[in-house]
Symmetry: C2
Subunit: 279 residues, 2 copies
């Protein structure tokens, strides 16, 4: 652990250097260097039944990058307090049986803000999960309403997995390309208007909106997003500390074949090869 501490300490000194001196030698663009010097306000939307890794995959990368970059986090729920990964019991269809998922493991994250109290946000991350189905069944539109209300102020909107259904409902995907979890394809692509859903994609970037495929794909999207925002100076080091070898080809999507997504690229490779970032 001393090794890690030394990394952190040198990172702190490095951050101070970057923040308060003239630009150091770097392959970053002027825009990326400017991004490194400013503060970013990050918002995560959560609801009962959030998918664990949809939130904590990107969060891990942002957490480590917050050593180097000036970021603050707001976790936004309908109410403040603990929010479980277990969705409340809900009716699957009108007149149908009650779906009680209380047998699922239920770790909780604490929501620090509500839609009304959240500060101005630069990035908004939107996870998916079974809780999205529950909100839909309950005709509760708070997530998409919140996204719509903050879409202009946000510089980036990012979804993981079925979180793209919320983006679609909010209207921000109109005229844009997007993707989603391939095991949930049929239902998600019925949401929104004028959305070009991409059947084979690990993630899709379209201007300020980034959408990833299912769950673990959020790690790959976030790595590429951090490179886009800041350049490679620190993110490759972060990926090697967290020992994640990112898939860097946004078109690699074997899961579109596993789940028989209509229009999937049948010539795509099932196998993805990856090594440490920067090597």
């Amino acid at each position: 652990m001393r090794g890690f501490s030394v990394v952190v300490l040198s990172a702190v000194l490095h951050y101070v250097e970057v923040a308060f001196s003239s630009p150091i030698a770097s392959n970053a663009t002027a825009a990326q260097l400017a991004n490194r010097k400013r503060h970013w306000s990050i918002g995560y939307v959560v609801f009962p039944g959030w998918e664990p890794l949809d939130v904590f995959g990107p969060m891990e990368i942002l957490y480590e990058m917050s050593i180097y970059a000036n970021m603050t986090l707001s976790v936004i729920g309908k109410e403040v307090g603990p929010v479980s990964t277990v969705p409340p019991p809900h009716q699957m269809d009108p007149g149908g049986p009650i779906m009680d998922l209380s047998f699922l493991l239920g770790p909780t994250i604490t929501a620090t803000h509500t839609p009304e109290t959240a500060p101005p946000l630069d990035f908004i991350f939107v996870p998916g999960g079974e809780g999205g189905v529950v909100l839909e069944k309950q005709n509760d539109t708070w997530v998409e309403d919140f996204i719509a209300s903050r879409a202009d102020e946000a510089q980036y909107l990012l979804s993981v997995c079925t979180g793209s259904a919320f983006l679609a409902k909010s209207g921000v995907l109109s005229g844009k390309k997007a993707t989603t979890n391939k095991s949930a394809w049929d239902k998600v692509v019925g949401n929104g208007k004028n959305v070009t859903w991409v059947p084979s994609a690990r993630w899709v970037e379209d201007g300020k909106v980034w959408t990833s495929s299912g769950v673990a794909a959020g790690l790959d999207m976030t790595y590429t997003f951090m490179k886009h925002l800041y350049g490679t100076d620190d993110i490759d080091q972060v990926m090697n500390i967290i020992e994640y070898a990112p898939h860097q080809d946004p078109h690699w999507d074997p899961f579109s074949l596993v789940w028989n997504v209509p229009g999937a690229n049948k010539n795509g490779s099932m196998v993805g090869c990856a090594g440490p970032a920067g090597y």
Copy 2:
């Protein structure tokens, strides 16, 4: 999301079938079929400064497997309530500067139990993170004391990243092989007695103790652990729903080369190739 709901619903029916009928056609061993029928009590240890993905990588897999298998979760902190990923300010060395990491992003998980109130546990997951350094600096041994007190009762003890330092201190690695985060190698391997630290390993299994390399390696270890416990009947489906292509070779460890770990296998491949589980 309907797709996901259908998967969940069929999983519920499947779970009922597995739990209350004679064994279904399966390639699982008799021991694995028995494991599928029983309840497992899972404990996660958390402390201020826990590494996000150390906890939520394995948690994602267990969460989805809890559709099929009978599991309950206890999150064990020194006190109940929210526990942040931000460690408290701490002195790096006697007389040295105070390390204030409050600039890190600080999502919280809620601890549901303390060492005193935690129920009997079948699995204990131990994450790493900068908080381990703080406990060490404060001479606070509650994590290793808890592990030692529950080691006999637990059927499996699993660590991710620098969590293996706690296992070493608790004594449970005595006479065993283990691994850790390769960027923190030098410090971690100073802990414990009679431990055979494996320099190139994505994860190490030694009897009831499983240890993974850094952070993201916990996903690969947990996939293999679930196969070990239950067979492949459901875990491969889970991995494809969460769109994670697991690295299945425990010897693949390019990060041991990135971080120049003494004794690392210099002939090991930097690139790991992975596809959907079961394909």
